[in-house]
Symmetry: C2
Amino acid sequence: MLIADDAAPSRRTPATIRDVALAAGVTVGTASKALNGRGQLRAETRERVRAAADRLEFRPNDLVRSLQRGRTFTVGLLTNDSFGRFTMPLLGGIEDALGAAEILVFLSNLRDDPEREATVITSLLAKQVDGLIVMGRRSDPRPPLPVGRSRLPIVYANSRVTDPTALSLLPDDVQGGRLATEHLLRAGRRHLAHVTGPAHWEAVQHRRDGMAAALAAHGLTLPEERVLCGAWTEAWGYAAVGRLLERDPAVDALFCGSDLIARGALDALREQGRLVPDDVAVVGFDNWEIIAAAARPPLTTVDMNLHDLGQEAARRLLAAVAGEVAAGTIRLPCRLVVRASCGGANLAGSDA
Amino acid sequence: MLIADDAAPSRRTPATIRDVALAAGVTVGTASKALNGRGQLRAETRERVRAAADRLEFRPNDLVRSLQRGRTFTVGLLTNDSFGRFTMPLLGGIEDALGAAEILVFLSNLRDDPEREATVITSLLAKQVDGLIVMGRRSDPRPPLPVGRSRLPIVYANSRVTDPTALSLLPDDVQGGRLATEHLLRAGRRHLAHVTGPAHWEAVQHRRDGMAAALAAHGLTLPEERVLCGAWTEAWGYAAVGRLLERDPAVDALFCGSDLIARGALDALREQGRLVPDDVAVVGFDNWEIIAAAARPPLTTVDMNLHDLGQEAARRLLAAVAGEVAAGTIRLPCRLVVRASCGGANLAGSDA
DNA sequence: TTGTACGCGTTATCAG
DNA sequence: CTGATAACGCGTACAA
């Protein structure tokens, strides 16, 4: 039964090392050595094998390599961000850090569906991914991933977990809030207000804390009534500014919890006849490029450096794969992107 | 040297079927049968094996299965869309169609970098993906993917290719343009204008053609000067409306080539004191939810059904994997999402 | 310098 | 009913 298969080099099925060996007139073992530069081979033989491999477009099957090495050079990226505006920059950073290592990323949108989550994780485990990077909501900490006893390295990126032994990377929202506020102060503003997202979000609290701290450093306070918590939407930004200006017309600067909120705020300000930045300076948060740059005026905003965060997450994951253990929460600094909504770019520079 | 390994069930390394067999006191082959429901086994044996597998949290290694079956149950998704607003809905659809089959998606952002493209494709091929779905710019057709002679099934989704033997799925922009225009006509408008993206984009031409066709069906024409081609940006939408109203104040309806353009247009209209939808009705394109819904007024717009397109792409890919051959360009219908920018929703209904 | 044989984890076939 | 063995594609000691 085990007659050697048809000698015809059928192009339908990808060439295996056997085909190459056959074509080069050597055995499989020799072909392997020739292609991997191992062992002692006559240069002529090596060349002959290489030529055959080229001709046949031979590509070593990574499944086998993975099987042998016990590593697949793949990682899973789990997200719940259906719009992708957080996923894509992260993915970019991850790919940058992983690309060099020729590691590929399985991306799956869990859509907050625990059932999907379970099946996807099962598949990912079966496919022997080297590790997992988990993104998620940043409001309530999510339960640790149900990976059973598997030793799979996991990094939580831009998401919180209830597991203290887990490693998670988050933007430093406190510092981000400080950054925005200091910029506003440098612009000479003294009556700052804050329009932001739902109060229970940790990020909301942190950004506010950062703002308060920066103000305190200048002998200023952030009165309760100048902090408006609502939703992460344009509509809320618009509505909030209406209320704010009504009860506190002296406000000369606005720190918004997101670019979308800032867009709404800018609209409201314009309609109320307040000039930005002359009357009111505005800083956003997210640096959602396509939104912030198109604002009128273009929005100065805080960038969470998600690309870098992705890179760092991937590096940490690689380290974990290599056996390094780490736990806890790491905060990565944000960065201010100066556009026009706070006045000339001349105030930039003296950032941390 | 080949002493059977330490009997201690070390938890560090995932359990293999050998561990299970050992624990259940059977051979590997029997264990396999027990777990897969194959062959004739005594119920007691089957149960014993299952119990052992459970206890050890045994998970079959997909690498091996893939190796044997010649299929990995993975596909690659290649994109250049760095914002992810087209990628994510597509990914959603793809996962929906693939999820049932327990297929996972490698996502890679090529970033229009041919070098990256080459290495990623090499990796993907090495990892033996079952197929590829390629997204890309829809302006100039991209060259076919450099996959050599490999028989890898490829579907181009929301992107054009120069290869006539390839299969590509695109939104039906002509129909989309018609949809938008008919809606405007139903609203009683007769002086329509079109503000859209760069003239050389095929999508721009198609949407315009659809618009012209719908108008023609009502005995109307689309004069050259009421079509403004520019960029896919808010700023262009804003600027275009300025020009348009100046030279043609009678315009009572605007079909915009994208939601972003529409946002810019809405801003300009508001500032010129034109009421939307009373004075001018506006329809956008993309249904970029977060942008369109937050517009003032909320934007009626054409949805490209990218989720469905993703699903269909995945199904086609699966069919191709199964041996079915297909080529050509398939256009999938768009859908109108009615919000407030054209007046009451009462005009909806009689769509194709 | 090259060939042989084994192992990676699993399934399937065939023998017992 | 269960066990042994080949095979998937490749790398690698070890033998020749």
